[in-house]
Symmetry: D2
Subunit: 406 residues, 4 copies
């Protein structure tokens, strides 16, 4: 066992991470620093203080990171139109690098030599936490209790809690959701329970952030999103901070049944898993961002971004936010976003996100292209013949040489 003196724990205040805090103290005979962050998960973070104090924790960090989360993580990712495997908006993935960063910063501030988290040994989150931690502090020790201990059942956890006077919110523990959930300002996710049968439809009661399309209002709602350099800066003309934008879009989207997703995805650790996600605001953001780009981005810049998007999304999913390659890609992406300004008008109705209009002072759309050639000679229909002829030349030469296309 490494000689660890102080460990910073990503602490939610719940049963699991409370047991981890105690287990770390006992197993490693080390000081524990707790770090609890509000990243929009929808639960109070302040109660974590008393729980930590009750376990004798002396250094307790409780922080509201919502603005930083959206501004520095969610927004840059949406500039890339990132989607993993054609469907997933990376809601869990994008929160981990922020947590990793703060864990390391706190380790540096408090002189800790280790960090710890409550992610299991079969998921992606352990990878995301730990790659970030190692990338930011290469000599850090990482303790992943779920990969080490033998408290691998709810019963053993409860027993351990009881034995060590860890207060258990029995009401909560007793009515525990059958699903493994994770939430932040971008989304809430569900795994486990009946979802383990990919043929089984998710139950309506599972979903927490959105109504069903059936239960959504019968009246559509139109909203206008204003973009500046690829980021939303106002809703319906009202300027808002990044976190406020996402909160508001979650509210409106959730009300209209927007953003539910049910997929089977490929984890970085090698297995397939079935997950359900609610991403009301993010679902609107992706469609709207593509719409404003459609008007303002040059074709080849857009296609270049599209060709790199799967790579970018994979990096975020796999936990390589804090890597030179993600940063290099981000430079490319951000370089394209300067002209991505303007308004997108979106209609929300019973699960649908329908782009109905877009406008921009930086628009490259020109309905008068027909008359364009008159003043500037830009488009002469006869040019098309030459364009086609030369693009076809290699194909003609090949055909003449007897090549078959089948």
């Amino acid at each position: 066992m490494s000689d660890i003196k102080k460990v910073v724990l990503a602490y939610s205040g719940g049963l699991d991470t409370s047991v981890i805090a105690k287990w770390l103290q006992q197993t490693y005979n080390c000081e524990v620093v707790t770090f609890t962050a509000d990243i929009g998960q929808g639960e109070e973070v302040e109660p974590a203080r008393a729980k930590a104090e009750a376990m004798g924790i002396k250094e307790i960090y409780i922080e509201d990171l919502r603005e930083e989360f959206v501004r520095d993580f969610v927004y840059p990712m949406f500039r890339a139109n990132a989607i993993y495997e054609g469907e997933y908006l990376l809601g869990t993935s994008i929160a981990r690098p922020l947590i990793a960063k703060r864990l390391i910063e706190i380790a540096n501030e408090t002189g800790a030599d280790a960090i710890s988290h409550g992610a299991t040994g079969k998921g992606n989150d352990q990878v995301r936490f730990e790659l970030g931690a190692y990338a930011l502090k290469p000599g850090v020790q990482v303790i992943a209790p779920w990969r080490e201990w033998d408290l691998n059942s709810r019963e053993s956890l409860m027993a351990y809690a009881a034995e060590h006077d860890i207060p258990v919110d029995f009401k909560k523990a007793g009515t525990k959701s059958p699903y493994s959930m994770d939430a932040n300002l971008l989304h809430i996710s569900y795994e486990g329970g009946i979802l383990e049968d990919p043929w089984a439809e998710a139950e309506e009661e599972m979903w927490r952030w959105s109504v069903s399309p059936e239960a959504a209002p019968n009246e559509a709602e139109y909203i206008t999103l204003t973009y500046a350099q690829g980021d939303i800066v106002a809703i319906n003309g009202e300027a808002m901070s990044p976190a406020t934008v996402l909160e508001e879009l979650n509210r409106i989207g959730g009300k209209h049944g927007v953003g539910r997703l049910d997929i089977v995805e490929n984890r970085y650790v090698g297995m397939k898993s079935r997950g359900c996600y609610e991403t009301p605001g993010g679902t609107i953001m992706l469609r709207a961002h593509r719409a404003i780009e459609s008007l303002t981005l040059d074709r080849e810049s857009a296609h270049l971004k599209d060709s790199l998007m799967p790579k970018y999304a994979e990096l975020v999913y796999n936990g390589y936010w804090w890597s030179p390659e993600r940063l290099a890609l981000q430079k490319l992406i951000d370089a394209t976003q300067e002209p991505v300004n303007g308004d997108v008008r979106v209609k929300l109705y019973k699960g649908n996100v329908i782009v109905v209009g877009r406008r921009s002072d930086d628009s490259l759309f020109d309905a008068s292209i027909a008359t364009f050639d008159d003043d500037a000679g830009a488009y002469d229909q006869k040019d098309a013949a030459g364009f086609i002829k030369l693009n076809a030349l290699r194909l003609r030469i090949a055909a003449r040489a007897g090549r078959k296309l089948s």
Copy 2:
């Protein structure tokens, strides 16, 4: 003017291509062969015969290509999950190579030395027709009247028709839609009219194939799609031919308000244009294909496909169906589809296409992965530590060397 003896014309039977037929006869003093195909555009093709005969056409081809269209063009494309610019399902693009192929085959059969079409000089379709034609018959002459003549207004067309006794369906011509439309079994498209203002919402009356989400049934409908090697072979357990599958999905999707799209896209000829599309069946197919792949495709095969998809879609959009590079990509794609078998259950409701279940005898999903390690040693949570450590190694070395990640 090249010395052209016989030209095969892609003939719809409508005013424009009737004028073209006559204009070709007069301008080139050549024989005209007409080719009219049913590719699911929803209009009778047989009436084209009498119109062609009335103009003295002797060789008239009228064909039902619906099965070939779906089997050999639509289905292979959907195996690639092709989407252009994140949104467009390539409904127009995919029909052109089939028409080009038949034009050339008919030219070979009839001894024609040229082909002709009614696409304008500013759009993508001229490119798609002509690249295909040149690739399949390198010495063919192509006549694109819209790039050559001066009949560039509806009035001049009507006048020409009147002058040359071309029967005009005045009722139809009089009530002509303000939109430029194109339809086939995969979609119907709209351009022009008020759509030229990308801020203006499309009018409800414009849409022809689908009801609005608002007007769709209040009851959801569930359907089960059965896949064999990446293609849908049955709906709700009933085996169907490719064209029948698509017709049926169009019917069901249209009924539930599925598949409307309103975008600004980048044409190959260099300008942006705004288009609206209805692709009810295709919209269902894309989601369902991704769902069955999610269960049956290996992760890296799926990611490889995703990384190549934008290239594939661009090739189809730009008119390079008949090219060695599209064929090579298709080999790769098709090589992945052998295990893409099984059922997808989809819920349709007021514009939403919701995948609710997927199952397959070729599934790579294993909910019992938890117990997997017990019998086969496949997953030991402790392995994750090594996995992360080695993936982090380069990042740690870089951090130790003082590299900053910002």
Copy 3:
């Protein structure tokens, strides 16, 4: 310790794998099957039999795999023009999947439940062996002694050998090269020793397969390579089997000082390492293959291959030969090679491989393209204006909209 009954060992007959054989017998109390292959490493394989017998091995496999190696591994890889990190011809990487395959086949034949190899825990080879093994027999056990035992020095190995009556070729062991080497028909590699200082120049005495450029003949030698579907089938007009081709090219190339390489590369396990390689035949093959492709491959097929080559090379380097993604890429690559036929003339002189001519019945090169337009209208210089105008259109629109290019 898993309950292992029989293990197939990749056995070279040398000290290390002899110790491993004994150690496996002792540690696992299991039967050992030895597998020794001639893949062109330039050492006799038959002596391994007596050594294995002396240790009481009952099932001994000794095989000449040279033809299979070149035909099914080297040749397909060269069709891809694979180079790792711009320099490395993957000589070690490409041999491992063949060994893995045979290990598993022999395990299946002999009823073994495990395989074992002598690769260390810090290199790529362990990964390549084991990924292949797992991919081909998912339940197999893998024993990598270097990751498990404590015989981690030459002294402890020698002591173990002495203690267990393993015959040590002291002459060989005593004059052991300071380098870690690996050889097969494609190359010989060197690591370690003074190479660990990347600033130090490799010593001339290190190189074994080639003379230095300085020591090469003062007269150049010309050879003609004949390709059929992307593979070399004859040298100077003489038809040869794949292995004979490579042997002959190694001989000629080595004589002319061709194919030495000195690089720092990035290992899959996360560290950089410095390696020197001699790949005389392969160096000729790469240049010549590109030359015959330059004449016979369509431009976009070639560019598609080039864009995928780094991915392909990375897969081979990292040990994913036996993976669905490598196979899918191979389908694409092989689909392009049908017309890659013809002759390449190469001049070899003191380390230089100079392509001086290429010809093919499938050539797409047409020096008379100047007159081409006369008969077939393929190239009219005026077409170039339209080609440029339309390709420039998006750039002009952007410039008109005030976009800056800096």
Copy 4:
């Protein structure tokens, strides 16, 4: 004919562009501004002044652009390790955007409404000039005389010159090389003549910048190149400007027979062509840049660059230097070059460029990685087992499900 008042001509001072100058004056009845640049082609530019004056040209620009050429064009391109089609170092391609930029700047300064150049209608250069021009000044007129006039033979050019009192350097014209050549500080190219037969070996007399390997010194020469942020800043410890670096490398490389290339390439306009190139300095630069990157670049940054390199090279080759997509890629590339500092030692001998050493304060190479785990726990050989196991998991699951790898 467009109404053109003033045209800026890329003027070499030679016969062709002198005839063009006169032809422009006569045909368009416009003023001509000449622009002659020294980009290292090895010919005096000042004599162009008298020739232009003799034709009555009033605005004459003669400029030394060598430093700008290397600093802003060659160096950024070499940061990308750009090679077109696996062989070509883009020597001609990279000079055109600079010329296009200055043509447009001069047009803006002099109030010209058009530019003109002497490139033919079948090559890439017309595209490169004109795409650049349109991208930088969207309303500019472009006059490409070779696509317009009928002076399409040397005889007609000479006759036109005689008729219009254009002084012809008969000695030069009489001994005109059978090759079409283009030179700048990066390379000299040859096309035409016997090269039109791709099977014919280039004649020794053709080459102008380098001796043959046979004629090169019998003694090798070692040089040390110092890099700062990806660019060479010193040779053998002596700091030099970019142009001086390239001049010096050309001198040394040419002396040692380095940098000859003989290829068949695919032009953007659709045909194959055979070209020979001498790029002595560039050939050294590419190898050396890869070498310094091998030590200082993170693996995934390097692989990302490699995966994008073919795209980047294609953009440069096709004339899209002045495009948002090239600029976005450059941002990514440049973002990786900050740590690309240090020295590379290269041995030059009879055509060979042999990297023999590299060192850097920013090195990520760590020969003591073996002991690394001791102090920092970075590498534990046992981690490799977990790394392999998890990377193999998807392959094992697939194999267990009966998937075949063939």
